[in-house]
Structures are given as C-alpha cells and as structure tokens.
Symmetry: C2
Subunit: 310 residues, 2 copies
C-alpha cells in the first residue's frame, strides 16, 4: 500500500505517524537523543520509519522541527543541538525522489488543526500553543504563512510589559510567554503567594493546580489567572489588529482548562481589540500532541493534490 | 483612448488621477463635502471623473475609502459621515460593467507603494503611514491582505502601554498612534516641556518642529523622539514577530524626517524583535499623498492582467 509519514521532532521525543488512505495506521514515539549535538536524531527517525514501513510503499514524509525553516533548510534548533541543516536533502539521500516537506513544528501543528482540528472551516486563523513556552502558526487564505525567514507566528515573544520585569530565554524582556505560558503563570503565582491567604503552595505549583484552584474561587489563583489573561489578551488584540483573522485556535497544556480560560480570554480580548476586529472567534485545538503528525500527513497530501495524484 | 481612474477619498479632500497606458495624464483634488452625512461626496466624485474623461473610454476605477471594506461594501467611514454603503454598486449604477475595485484607503496606498514606491521588489511587507493617526496595510505573497472584515493593518491601535495614560479616539487606551503619530509626539512634548530648558515652545508645536529641534540636539526634543521610537519599535517588533515580513515601508508626514527617524527606529527595532526577525528591512515610502491614486490604478491593472487584457 502507498503510505505517508508525519513526523514531529521535539526536544524530548519524536512522534511518528504512518498514514494509509488518510487513516493513521501506525504510531510511534521515540526518545530524542540529543548527545553529540543531536547527530543520532535523524538516523533514529529513518530507522523507525523503515521499521514502520513494513513492506508498504513510501510516497512522502512531512516533518516538523523545533526551529525556523526556509525552503526545507532548518536555520537552527537549540533544543536538538542542531545548527543549520538541510533536512530535506538528508531525507532525500535516504529515500530518493519522494515528496518531502519540512517546516517549523508549530506550523505543522497549525496545519493539522486546520485540516482535522479546531481550525476546520477557517480560511484565516492564528493557532497558538500554551505550553512551557508559547508557539504559534498562521493560516491565511488556507495556506501556511511561514514568513521570509520561516519565523512567522513567533507570538510567544510579543512584548507585553515595559518594565523589564521578566527575562525571557530569548534574551528579551517581558515576552508574553513569560506571563501566559505554563511556566509564566507559575512565576506569577510565586510572586503573589507570599503573605497571602490561599490554597496555593510554593512547594507544589503547576499551571494545572493554579487553574484548578482558580475555578474553586481561590482569590490569589484568580489574580494569577487574571494577570495571564491580561497579557495574553493584549498580545492577541495586537495580532488581530494586524491580521484581522477569523479565529484564534488555542492548544497546548494550558488550554486543557477549556471554557474557563476561553471565556475569560475572549471577554478581555473584546475589550482590548480595535472595534472592527472584536468579533474574532476563539476555539480550542482538538488534536493535542498529535496535531504535528496529522499536519505532516496533510502537508504531503497537499503536494499530491497540486499534481492531482490524490 | 482607454483610461483608468485612481480615486483616494479622504476626510478633507478627494484625489483623482486619470491614467492612460500606465501614465498619470490628469490629476484633480476636490474638497470633501461632509454635509448631510456626506451625501454629496459620490455625486461630486462621479461628476469630476466625467469632466476628466474628456472623451476617453473608461475601463475601470480603483477607489480607496477611509474605513473597512468587505467585498466592495464599506462598513463605516466616520470621517465622511458614511454608514454601510455598497460603493461598488453605486459606481456601477453610473458606469455599468467596467472594472471597479474599492478598498480601504491605507490598503490602496500600500498597493501604490508596492508597485511604484518604497515597496518595490518586496513580496511581503507592511506599510505604515505616520500622519495625524497611524494607518497601515499589508502585502503578503504580492497580494493585499485585507482581513476577514477588511480591517487588517490597523496597526495604529496596537497597545503599547499598560497604564491607561492616553485615551485614543477609538475608545481604547495607549494605542501606538497616541504616542508615535504627529499628534502623539506633540502630546509627549506638551508633557515634557514645562519647567525644562528647551528650544521647544508650548505655543508653537508640531511634529516637524520637534524633529527639527531634535536633529539640532535639543535635549527635550530628543527625549520626545526617543519615546516615540520606543513605542513604535515595540509595535513593529510585535508585527514582525507575528508576520516575519521582508520590510517595513514608512510613509506619512512624520516620515519626511527621513533617515534620522529610520536609523533610530531600525536600531531600537533590532533590540526589541525576536532574533530570527531582526533583519527586517526599513524603507521610506516615496509616493507621498499620491500613493492612493497609483494604488487605484494598479488594483484595476491587476484585474485586467487576470483576464490577460493588458
């Protein structure tokens, strides 16, 4: 049978999905071996694909990597130890003239959510993942907008304060991911807890605990959530004023808190956005950690459709 | 001869250009009559076009209006007194089946700068006009990105402070145009002048005077410019983190200060933008107030090219 692989390369593990006739027929997650500047990562991926092929015919591979990509060349992926690396060429050296597409991991997840998840039916939307950091991807006119250096959608680094209060891993201060990611809300909680009456404890903090306690009405937890909402709604209003998309689709661990988050976020967004863009819709992502492998499948399917093969 | 008209409808005057074989052959500027909710504006425009036609054959009209436009329908233009208004239908009722395109005025100017001005050669760029307010337009993949409500590029309303210091005409606080437009720098100067040793005077302030004095080294004027740069560079870094364009093209009255502005702006931008987008280029717009009429010509030319007529 003809098959397509979707591969999502992360800093901790690599998810690989095998698709036949649009169905996910096999799935694997392998550890990311970052030793020796990640030299073993590509051989590990190719070995796993070869194992999963199991006699089927490989048509194409769609892959996401954690860094900016221009024309199939990764510019840098600090989480893997990779410097500039022509990923397409490397895969082609193994499999020859099949369909190969490589893009940023957040872009690949955006594509998955567009075709099969929270972004279904939207022509223009912005996807964001609220995890340890904040990543994002942009669909305009039903196409990924990748940007001139493959760095469009880096919305985690939008500046949302002017007091240089929190330094970001990127070297800048007050990026929205320092306030509205899973780690951001924990930082805020650590600042607010001391001396206050709260069910939150400095010894055991996570974004999940903070949101759970906020839902129960804990005053400090609610303040933490409100600060997160203020910063995130600000960033999203700036994006909406720029792009005027149909919707924001929100995924990542923090989004698991669901309607509680979305209701607060869309309410504050409507107060902060310029009036003609206030009707931007808010949706939850639905594919979770699998968005990338589905995106990997669809990015290849799109190539096939261009040539009317499928 | 076949001719195309470019029309730029502003709150004070309406600029009309007549193009034959790609050349501007006639030009007119008429006053905007805002009495009776602007009922006379369209008849005035059509009358002037008819006068300028002068026996030539009208092929198409490209028009910009000061408000959001979706599929040729203006949603609202407070500066004209217009509510929802199907501009395309109105023009068609006069001229029948010619090419008619209507878009937001900033978008039309963006198109003009793309084809003939500071945006030549860029596939993806963001145009901004620093005038009384701040307007903008976005070209992606060589096409205008208008947004789902025709409101993309409303970058003047990006929030750049969190203290609710300056109320904007739009009803929000701390929009970047309250700091970085011609009127914004005057507000900043008014705050900084009292009690300071400066050649600036509260009795005679304009953005031009402020920039002129800053160039001469006046300390207070330099502080005013630096605050403007801080806010504008922040907004542009947010846009670049989102879109990763090739360039910003900057027009409007304030941009006449030229390299002095651009050098400061690009320097601070590079400090504030996420590292992969720091190489975004900065260019000055070149068409001034005529960008809109040229854009009006090119938006029609594009339609003709689609049908391979030109």
């Amino acid at each position: 049978m003809d098959c397509i692989f979707g591969v999502d390369v992360g800093g901790t593990n690599i998810k690989i999905g095998k698709f036949v006739k649009g169905e996910l027929v096999d799935y694997s997650s392998i550890n990311t071996n970052k030793e020796n500047d990640g030299k073993q990562i590509m051989p590990d991926i190719l070995k796993e694909i070869n194992r999963m092929l199991n006699g089927d015919t490989l048509i194409g591979i769609g892959m996401g990597v954690p860094g900016p990509v221009v024309n199939g060349v990764l510019l840098k992926a600090p989480n893997l130890g990779w410097e500039t690396f022509d990923v397409v060429e490397r895969v082609r050296s193994e499999y020859g003239n099949i369909y190969i597409k490589v893009t940023n991991d957040a872009n690949l997840a955006t594509l998955g959510e567009h075709k099969l998840g929270g972004g279904i039916g939207f022509k223009d939307f912005v996807f964001l993942t609220l995890g340890t950091g904040i990543g994002g991807g942009i669909i305009l006119n039903n196409e990924l907008h990748e940007g001139i250096n493959g760095s469009a959608g880096e919305i985690g680094h939008i500046r949302v304060d002017f007091r240089n209060l929190r330094k970001c891993n990127c070297g800048l201060f007050d990026c929205v991911e320092r306030y509205a990611s899973a780690s951001g809300v924990v930082i805020t909680a650590r600042e607010k807890i001391p001396g206050r009456k709260t069910s939150l404890s400095l010894d055991n903090l996570s974004s999940k605990i903070i949101f759970d306690e906020a839902k129960k009405g804990d005053e400090v937890a609610l303040e933490v959530v409100d600060e997160m909402i203020e910063k995130l709604a600000t960033a999203l209003s700036q994006i909406a004023n720029t792009l005027n998309p149909e919707a924001f689709v929100i995924g990542g661990g923090v989004s698991k808190t669901g309607a509680f988050l979305l209701d607060k976020l869309s309410k504050r967004f409507q107060e902060l956005a310029f009036f003609p863009v206030r009707n931007t819709q808010f949706r939850l992502a639905t594919l979770g950690n699998d968005a990338g492998i589905y995106g990997g499948y669809y990015i290849i399917k799109k190539e096939l459709e261009k040539e009317s093969i499928v």
